[in-house]
Symmetry: C2
Subunit: 151 residues, 2 copies
DNA sequence: TGTGGGGCTTCCCATCATGGGAAGGTCAAG
DNA sequence: CTTGACCTTCCCATGATGGGAAGCCCCACA
């Protein structure tokens, strides 16, 4: 019993991770190479599906693939300290909060500008005036530490 | 007077847009080709700098390059209806709000999980338990309409 | 047993906005 | 004239994802 395995398409359907991404996760080392049939088809068992769902859920929470690799390692380490997991989660929360604050700032500014624009057929527009004002604070564009699907 | 022009590095410093990005904006058609010196150096005048600052400010508000192209066109169109500008701004706000809500959902879930994890040296961890639960709602990963720096 | 259609394989390309860096030409100050 | 800072173009990488082509495989049905 339980030698039941499924092909990659079925694994994708059952895990919510696309076949493309399953292959990519394997290629980049997030997942170990799948077992193959004689003809080269990948096959996945229940444990593999469980792992795939874990990955999927972690992606849904915005974890980067790198963070997921750490989470998977901790998941498989029966001697893990839960503090390690918690630290990763709290980092992720901090990152999410930082990004939310950034987007919130943009949204508030834009809402204020949009509210002040009467939005009719006349050309006067406080939104364009603001953009053209050119008093942009020269904040350097930082590289974000990878993470969210950002879809 | 006012035939003063600067090179791309100086334009970058004065506008807050990197030289790399100025070239890229030109290449992709967001900006018209810069005038060149005999030896091929790009040169920028006050009007160009004004445009660059406009672009920079719009990027800071999360507009996609595509949206900025529309905003620039409206900016230069003295017969524009302000409603057109307002519509673009409101689309952007809606997009920002949607993404904020998404991140907020992740952050809340993760905070709840992190709070329930005692974070000590023992291996028991509700965070991993949740990830492993595999009850992930199979929400399809949509492609996001381009926009934010997302840094 | 032949065949058709759907699933699998690998490989390449695109996204979006950005930076890094190499190889080589230009310019201005000393 | 040299030196060093700047400019040019070109290629590559990022992160996670999808699209699509070319070709092989497998099963069900006639």
């Amino acid at each position: 019993m339980s030698a039941e395995t499924v092909t990659i398409g079925e694994a994708a359907r059952r895990s919510g991770v696309s076949a493309k991404m399953i292959r990519w996760y394997e290629e980049t080392g997030l997942l170990p190479p799948a077992t193959r049939s004689e003809s080269g088809y990948r096959h996945y068992g229940e444990a593999d599906l469980h792992t795939l769902r874990f990955v999927r859920r972690a992606r849904d929470l915005g974890f980067s693939v790198e963070a997921i690799a750490e989470l998977l390692a901790l998941w498989h380490d029966r001697a893990r300290p839960s503090a390690s997991v918690k630290a990763i989660a709290e980092d992720q929360v901090a990152d999410l909060r930082r990004r939310i604050a950034e987007l919130e700032g943009m949204a508030r500014t834009l809402e204020r500008l949009a509210d002040s624009c009467c939005g009719d057929s006349r050309p006067d527009c406080p939104i364009l005036d603001d953009l053209a004002a050119g008093d942009a604070a020269p904040s350097p564009r930082r590289r974000r530490r990878p993470g969210l699907p950002t879809r």
